[in-house]
């Protein structure tokens, strides 16, 4: 988590001319969230979610633009972005598979599910497939323990998994 330091101090930031934080996104954020909080900084999480929704991850340039928009330092926004599991500061696959690894799922044989997915995708947890279609993650309890073992594929929950049915679920993810 937060205290895993990253070599961002020496990293070159890839830049493009076109801003990530378009006027349209800014307008949406201002209209939806600005009145909700007494500070602009409190819009950090909605802003990060919004950027990620558009681009799949959080490019550094986008964080700089976001920080300027919120009137905070880029490092402050980066601090928030790197703390949370759902924010990706590196590109990821088109779809993200999140397999729950907590106790109820382990009791219900999550290990076999993880193995089946690793075999099917040819990657280990934490990795992305070569065709950039899937990023495979293990997570802690996703609050669907009654349907253990379970996983999220992007925002969709799949419960009562078996090594036999996970393959079919992944096949349904659009290219």
């Amino acid at each position: 988590m937060a205290w895993l330091t990253k070599p961002s101090g020496t990293q070159e930031i890839e830049r493009r001319d076109e801003p990530y934080l378009t006027d349209e996104i800014k307008k949406h954020l201002d209209e939806t969230y600005a009145h909700r909080y007494p500070t602009r900084r409190a819009m950090s999480m909605p802003l990060l979610h919004e950027i990620q929704e558009h681009y799949g991850w959080l490019p550094y340039q986008a964080l700089e633009e976001g920080a300027a928009f919120l009137d905070i330092k880029p490092s402050e926004l980066l601090d928030t972005a790197t703390f949370y599991e759902e924010y990706f500061t590196q590109p990821r696959g088109k779809h993200t598979v999140w397999v729950c690894q907590s106790v109820s799922c382990e009791v219900m044989n999550e290990a076999a599910i993880t193995q089946a997915i690793a075999d099917k995708l040819g990657v280990q947890p934490g990795e992305t497939t070569d065709d950039d279609k899937f990023t495979f993650m293990k997570v802690e309890c996703i609050g669907a323990c009654g349907g253990a073992p379970c996983m999220l594929v992007d925002e969709e929950l799949h419960e009562n998994l078996t090594p036999q049915n996970v393959g079919g679920i992944l096949d349904k993810a659009p290219d």
Binding site: A2, S44, H49, Y84, V103, E140, C141, C145, G146
Partner: protein, 462 residues
Amino acid sequence: MPLETPVLFKRVPTPPWGDFNDRKYVGYDDYAKADGYAALDKCAAMEPKDIIEEVKAAELRGRGGAGFPAGMKWSFLPPLDEGQRFLAINADESEPATFKDQILIQYDPHSVIEGIAICMLACQLDTAYFYIRGEYHHHREVFERAIAEAYENKVFGENARIGKVNNRWPNLYLHRGAGAYICGEETGLIESLEGKRGWPRIKPPFPAVQGAFARPTIINNVETLANVPYVMLNGAEWWKGFGKGRPEGAPPTVPASFGTKLMGVSGAVKRPGVYEHELGVKLIDLINGSAQGPLDGTKLKAYFHGGISMGVVSQEEAEAGVEMDFDIGKKWNNLGLGTACVTVIPEHVSMVAMARNCARFYSHESCGQCTQCREGSKWLYKLLSRMERGDGTTKDLDLLLELASSMGSMPGNNICGLSDGANWAIRTIVNKFWGEFEAVVSKPSRVSLAVLGDGQPVGAGA
């Protein structure tokens, strides 16, 4: 005695009264038809302090894990001044094995929203944030819909039917988390709400005095607030007819376990799910009755009875009469009732593996501020992984216990309760299943090369 009619699950079909498959979203209109928002209207005509007195009289204790009396928390607020005051609803629900709040969020959100509005009225809080964990995607959409319905029907917003609260029109906003267990801790939640990393704050000052945006803030769990409309509509005395009172003759200062409680069951049972019971129900009845007993061909061995942080209860203890109430900790040597969501562990699952799973969880979720939590949880994970592989030694067992017990708030060196959870989870598993741990450490899988040959450690003296 089994609960005759559901309270919190009145509109959420649940065995034995209904079928899980019939659960569906109850919108504003359907909710309002069945007495919905009647409690709010009643409260709107009351003095705020009388609402707090009623909740105090009900002795409603927090359902988020710690069991702190809600009415008492509400009375810690300072007097009104010019500034804003906040309510943060804790829908982070990230304790492993816990999935109770999400049922209310998905199916009966207006019961939660009504509780929120009453709390805002009672405590004079003008703005409420519903902090929902990032992974609850569907739930988030459903709750947004319910909030929109509430605005349409003037529960919140300009010209709200409860009038101005703290001189402002009341508002409820959803705030989405992004995957961090520690944001369930109340001050971690506040930091996250402010747009920062979820680092718990040193207390005091307590949130009631200086919380979100340095203003007075009340934090309550979803289920706690969902109880409030029932308390207010039917009265504290009615509500206290459920659950378990004080032992005979105990003074009123002894905290009791009134009311019903949502209890999730998951793991090796035939019908996992979230049920409603009176506090004080026997664990074994929850498992064998509601959840229809162990999966075919399995024998049960242990339970995480309230999320992993409360520790474990063994099958022998369960058979000897463990009751699910706020006294479970004192009576059965664990940290407490927690979330009352149970993981059922069958005989064939190793307790060493369960302990390793818990240690990994804490090492992954520790926010890293306090040394003994950050380092200790990593170390526990390493030790337990080593033991599980068969490379542990007897000495590791003592080290494990010593390490775990140095991590809690009893030594007094941590900022929040996460490392207490780690301490209790690991210690109760090791102590209650000592035999399993001893068995893995007494049979090392590899012979140490260092002691072969002449018995001198390799490299000694070199």
